[in-house]
């Protein structure tokens, strides 16, 4: 059982042992905020359709791990031999398992503590936990309160690293249930590019809960592709917050794919804080079993002439629940904003649920914004057509679902990652 | 009727019209031709009073009034009509109601009583025949879901209803098949009279097979670089714009 007393003790201990690590202040503010708000309930508007309170009903161990290079080898993603690999184990950045091919003149990876004191201390001070201005809930604050072995990545000005960045979150559940709270801050400097893929794996059969926050700052004329792939065990739950701030005219492209998992909550926040930003968000969720996936997107248009487009598609089968909540805000200064959003759902079972809630909050007049969402079924005609050609029903359904998913998958630009996701999807859909 | 003297105009700070001179008298048909980007549509917009276009120099008088001082609606009420190249859609506003509003606003401006529904419908029926437009089209929202040809015919129909002194047709022939082109041209010809003038803006010569212009002007790089009679249009069709533009000094 994780309760306030337990957390308080741990927090006090952490503050004592890491009093001078440069992020004690962030932890303090976060813990105060957590103490005030507590965990969200269904009455918390942003958590109306997703309950995580019971995840805290069991005790997660904080002991060390036994993850080896061999373990990592078994779960690496294709293209890894040409990628910079950043490994978190149980929420802590693990330098020994991580591997960097790029040289320091392209990018630099530091522990958050080191970054908070050295050359990048101003950036850390300015941007670490900026997301708390948007995320007022206790879960987010909880991550901030326990920032310990986080990571800082700086992509240098004008650089396009030859190697993409892969981030693995490994939770070692082989001996006991595990909770992890990884934290990262990535700064993508002017005129640089980054391709980033993040994935999550729980080892063993125990329950896991990963409450991760990644903050990304994108400077003038930078270009970012971000892929999040979630296909963990059925008892692996997570709250995954990606908070991207575009501080200069820049381009951001994200794709989130959610397949298997327990309770999965994604917060994809985009703050468009410069004139002329362009942002594309894509999401795909294919849910079976009892998986509950909740995709929250938030686009805050703060400056004029920004363009954003969102397409989230998904299916819910068996006893699963799919939630989509897409918020578009247009602030008074953000004239000439064009922002579009589409959410499409297919419900395959009467025991499954789809809840969708697009939101427009507009305070500027010269804008074009729209959202649309649908809930429906597979095309019966198409299904019949395939069956009439001799394809068995189950196979025909998989084919149609693959076609349905393709709209989103085509936006995964690196071929290795796309092929990998397609394979995962095929396996995921084919298991009855 | 219309006298344009040395008009210069900017769009977003860029000079598009660089000194246009043009005299149009009642009863005349003028055609302005020119390649894409020469400033043809800008000229039409400036005359109609579109606010994004900034007139930096020159004068325009229309029926002895200073046109540039009038608001767009007053220009329309004075008798200047622009058939738009891309007529805009206005959802929920029926074409009939829209035209009725326009006709009565013009009547009010000239001190006339508004038309009652019966006389309005009577006039409408007459003019509908002129452009072979269907009643069902007029009960739909303006331009909403209209085909390209329907939009252009609707423009000519509005022109017929408003009986302008000067009609400016901005690329009215673009995107029309041959039947629609014939209908549109017929409509224009039937409206043409000694009291009215027509300014046809077009890229191609083909509309001029149906509408006989008295004068043809070639607009190039913001200036009228050549004027002539109908034969000039034929020559353009045959030789292309290059034969005229080659000799023009762009920096002059």
């Amino acid at each position: 059982m994780i309760d306030l007393t337990y957390l308080n003790d741990r927090f006090e201990h952490l503050q004592q042992v890491s009093a001078d690590d440069g992020i004690a202040g962030v932890r303090k503010n976060s813990f105060d905020s957590f103490s005030k708000t507590g965990l969200p309930t269904y009455r918390t508007e942003d958590w109306k359709y997703t309950s995580i309170g019971n995840l805290f009903d069991q005790s997660f161990e904080q002991a060390g791990h036994t993850v080896s290079l061999a373990d990592l080898e078994a779960l690496r993603m294709p293209g890894h031999h040409k990628a910079n690999e950043l490994v978190f184990v149980n929420g802590r950045f693990d330098a020994a398992l991580s591997n960097f091919l790029s040289t320091d003149d392209e990018l630099i990876v530091l522990s958050l503590k080191d970054a908070a004191k050295g050359e990048y201390k101003d950036l850390v001070a300015r941007y670490l936990n900026k997301s708390s201005e948007y995320m007022k809930d206790g879960v987010h604050a909880l991550n901030g309160a326990f920032i310990e072995e986080g990571v800082f990545v700086h992509i240098h000005k004008g650089k396009t690293p030859q190697h993409p960045l892969y981030i693995y979150h490994i939770l070692d559940g082989r001996a006991h249930p595990v909770m992890a709270q990884p934290r990262g801050l990535i700064y993508i400097d002017k005129n640089s590019r980054l391709q980033l893929t993040e994935t999550y794996v729980t080892l063993g059969v125990s329950d896991s809960f990963c409450n991760g926050v990644l903050e990304v700052v994108v400077d003038q004329n930078a270009y970012v592709e971000y892929y999040k792939i979630q296909n963990d065990a059925s008892n692996a739950s997570q709250v995954s917050t990606t908070h991207i701030t575009q501080i200069g005219r820049s381009y951001v492209h994200t794709v989130t794919v959610t397949l298997n998992g327990g309770v999965v909550r994604n917060n994809m926040n985009l703050v468009l804080d410069a004139d002329g930003n362009e942002t594309h968000l894509y999401g795909l969720y294919l849910l079976k079993g009892k998986t509950h996936a909740d995709n929250h997107t938030m686009i805050d248009n703060r400056q004029p002439n920004c363009f954003s487009n969102q397409l989230y598609k998904g299916i819910a089968d068996d006893f699963s629940t799919a939630v989509f909540n897409g918020k578009i805000m247009v602030q008074p200064d953000a004239q000439k904003t064009n922002s579009f959003q589409s959410n499409k759902n297919i419900l395959l079972s009467d025991n499954a649920t789809i809840n969708t809630k697009p939101q427009l909050e507009i305070f500027a007049d010269d804008v074009k914004c729209s959202h649309g969402c649908t809930v429906g079924q597979l095309d019966e005609e198409a299904l019949f057509y395939l069956r009439a050609r001799g394809i068995p029903k189950e196979k025909a359904e998989v084919l149609l679902l693959q076609a349905y998913a393709a709209d989103v998958l085509t936006h995964i630009k690196p071929m290795a990652i796309r092929a990998y996701v397609e394979k995962l999807i095929y396996e995921h859909l084919s298991i009855v | 009727m219309l006298s344009i003297k040395n008009i210069h105009a900017n769009v977003e700070g860029k000079e598009i019209l660089k000194g246009i001179n043009l005299e149009i008298k009642a009863g005349e048909v003028h055609a302005i031709m020119g390649p894409n980007g020469s400033g043809k549509s800008t000229l039409a917009s400036v005359l109609a009073g579109r606010e994004q276009y900034e007139v930096t120099a020159g004068e325009v008088s229309f029926l002895d009034k200073n046109l540039l001082e009038l608001s767009p609606e007053d220009r329309a009420r004075e008798g200047l009509f622009l058939a738009f190249q891309y007529p805009v859609e206005i959802p929920g506003v029926s074409t009939t109601n829209f035209i009725k509003a326009a006709v009565n606003e013009k009547r009010k401006y000239h001190g006339l009583e508004p038309l009652d529904s019966v006389s309005f419908l009577k006039i409408m029926k007459e003019k509908m025949k002129l452009v072979e437009i269907d009643q069902s089209l007029l009960s739909r929202s303006i331009n909403e879901g209209f085909s390209g040809g329907e939009k252009k015919r609707n423009e000519i129909f509005q022109m017929a209803m408003l009986e302008p002194k000067l009609a400016i047709l901005d690329e009215t022939d673009s995107g029309l098949d041959i039947d629609a082109l014939r209908i549109v041209a017929n409509g224009i010809n039937k409206l043409h009279s000694p009291e009215r003038a027509v300014l046809v803006i077009t890229h191609y010569q083909r509309l001029l097979d149906y509408i006989q212009p008295d004068y043809v002007h070639v607009l190039y790089n913001g200036r009228i670089v050549k004027s002539g009679t109908k034969e000039l249009a034929l020559e353009l069709e045959e030789k292309g714009y290059d034969f005229i533009t080659e000799g023009v000094d762009l920096n002059a």
Binding site: P332, L347, T353, Q359, G376 | E89, N97, L162
Partner: protein, 481 residues
């Protein structure tokens, strides 16, 4: 070129025409709310014991509740002890016919366009008029009674048809439903009651006109419409209030019940005083409206044109219980100056093959905030449920806001739900096109706004459509029919 005043500003800066006060003797009770006040109201209305008990139960429940905060509206805390809960124009004597109504009152309603005198009545519309806490008159009552239609004030219904009221009151909006519904259940003073018997198509529009007159008085009306099997009724309501500097509370409850193959069409033109240009005064309009399509093949259709009130909090909803039942919601909400509207609907699909349609048009001007909030829910049993929603917002000016909060919850795999929403401003191109045809900018804005709202306006009965269109943009001066 000469600069005109911003056409948008001109088009939306019309004054409220119904802000006068009627000077008439009024029977009011002291400000404040407690059990004794409720007993007094019940006593003044000569209510049976069960009604008083019902009220007291609601009051006890209300005391345990807190005011909801989830809506996208901001207002100072309402002091519920600073409100007069009962105010009634004093009748000079017992009325024998409508023509004996106080001439001052008659002329008040004449000014509002509601004629009560026999010779000038709108034919085809039966009207119940409610001033402050009581119903003053109901027209065409006898003619309607001949075909079995009951149309009277709810107070009268409690006296004359207690079995019907007892059966249905609070059955759709229970007293525990929400804060304002509980308050209304405790203190409601009047409203309309309509009962359409089996197989009857009500031959005329039934209409209630609500008027707040007394200073500091709240208005809490309660309307109940029951349509038995295979019946049809079209009901309209309108409302206005004087211009006053302080805010006045209006918390109404409306319940509709449609039995098998019955159809209820409920239209509202809401024009409570919206407050002045600085946002001072105006009505706080907290309304709970809900209907149930109880029988198979029944239909409930809500149409609303919301132009008034400082604050609007209102979600006319339909529970689609009967198989093949249909729910509709058509709404135009226009906010100006400092008005705030948070309005929309709830469509709850329970039966098989149920259908719902939502068309919501929001127009924001001035410093106003306009929100659409809606819920479409297809339950597990709702086989083949269908919903289509279209929400469009139009922004007139850069100081206002337009917001859309649709919630969609689907638990049945045969359900199809579609939602679309757009937000935009009036196109420069549209304005210029109109001006090139000689239409001045103000009229052009009116034309475009009315076009934007047309799909909803078309749903209104003729008598109201014209009033509503005028309301939306008064300045059109009949140039467009």
């Amino acid at each position: 070129m000469k600069e005109n005043q911003d056409p948008l500003e001109q088009a939306v800066s019309n004054d409220y025409k119904y802000g006068f006060v009627t000077d008439i003797d009024t029977d009011t009770i002291a400000k404040g709310l407690n059990e004794d006040v409720i007993r007094l109201i019940s006593h003044k209305k000569n209510e049976p014991e069960w009604m008083l008990e019902w009220r007291l139960k609601a009051y006890a429940y209300w005391l345990t509740m807190v005011e909801p905060e989830w809506a996208n509206i901001k207002y100072p805390t309402i002091d519920y002890q600073d409100i007069i809960y009962y105010a009634a124009p004093k009748p000079k004597k017992q009325l024998n016919s409508l023509d004996e109504v106080d001439p001052e009152l008659l002329s008040t309603f004449e000014k509002l366009g509601i004629s009560l005198s026999e010779q000038k009545r709108l034919s085809g519309v039966a009207v119940d008029v409610v001033m402050d806490s009581v119903s003053i008159a109901t027209s065409f009552k006898e003619q309607l009674a001949e075909i079995g239609v009951i149309f009277c004030s709810i107070s009268e219904a409690i006296q004359l048809h207690p079995e019907l009221v007892k059966k249905h009151l609070g059955s759709i909006v229970p007293m525990t439903d929400n804060y304002f519904a509980a308050l209304n259940s405790a203190v409601f003073t009047d409203g309309s009651f309509c009962y359409i018997p089996k197989g009857v198509r009500c031959p005329m529009e039934l209409s209630t006109y609500f008027r707040i007159n007394t200073e500091n008085a709240g208005q809490f009306e309660r309307t109940l419409i029951v349509a038995e099997d295979e019946s049809y009724v079209s009901y309209l309501e309108g409302c206005t209030a004087p211009m006053r500097d302080e805010n006045q509370l209006h918390a109404a409850v409306v319940e509709l019940i449609a039995m098998e193959k019955a159809e209820i069409k409920y239209s509202t033109v809401q024009n409570w005083y919206p407050g002045d240009k600085e946002g001072k005064g105006g009505i706080y309009n907290f309304v709970t409206k809900r209907g149930i399509c109880k029988g198979d093949h029944s239909k409930i259709s809500w149409t609303q044109v919301e132009t008034g009130s400082a604050i609007t909090w209102k979600y006319p909803s339909v529970i689609l219980k009967g198989d093949y039942s249909i729910g509709e919601f058509y709404s135009v909400a226009f906010t100006n100056n400092h008005q705030q509207a948070d309005t929309g609907t709830k469509m709850t699909h329970l039966g098989k093959n149920t259908r719902s349609r939502i068309v919501a048009k929001g127009i924001s001007a001035g410093h106003s905030q306009n929100s659409y909030r809606g819920l479409v829910r297809a339950s597990k049993q709702a086989i083949n449920a269908r919903n289509y929603s279209q929400c469009d917002s139009l922004l007139l000016g850069d100081k206002c806001g337009a917001h859309t909060f649709p919630y969609i919850e689907v638990k049945n795999k045969t359900a199809i739900v579609e939602h679309e929403a757009t937000t935009s401003k009036i196109g420069e191109d549209q304005l210029f096109y109109c001006r090139q045809r000689g239409i001045d900018p103000e009229a052009a804005v009116a034309l475009i706004v009315n076009g934007f709202a047309k799909e909803v306006m078309n749903q209104l009965p003729m008598e109201f459509a014209i009033e509503a269109q005028k309301l939306l943009t008064i300045s059109m001066e009949g140039s467009v029919g």
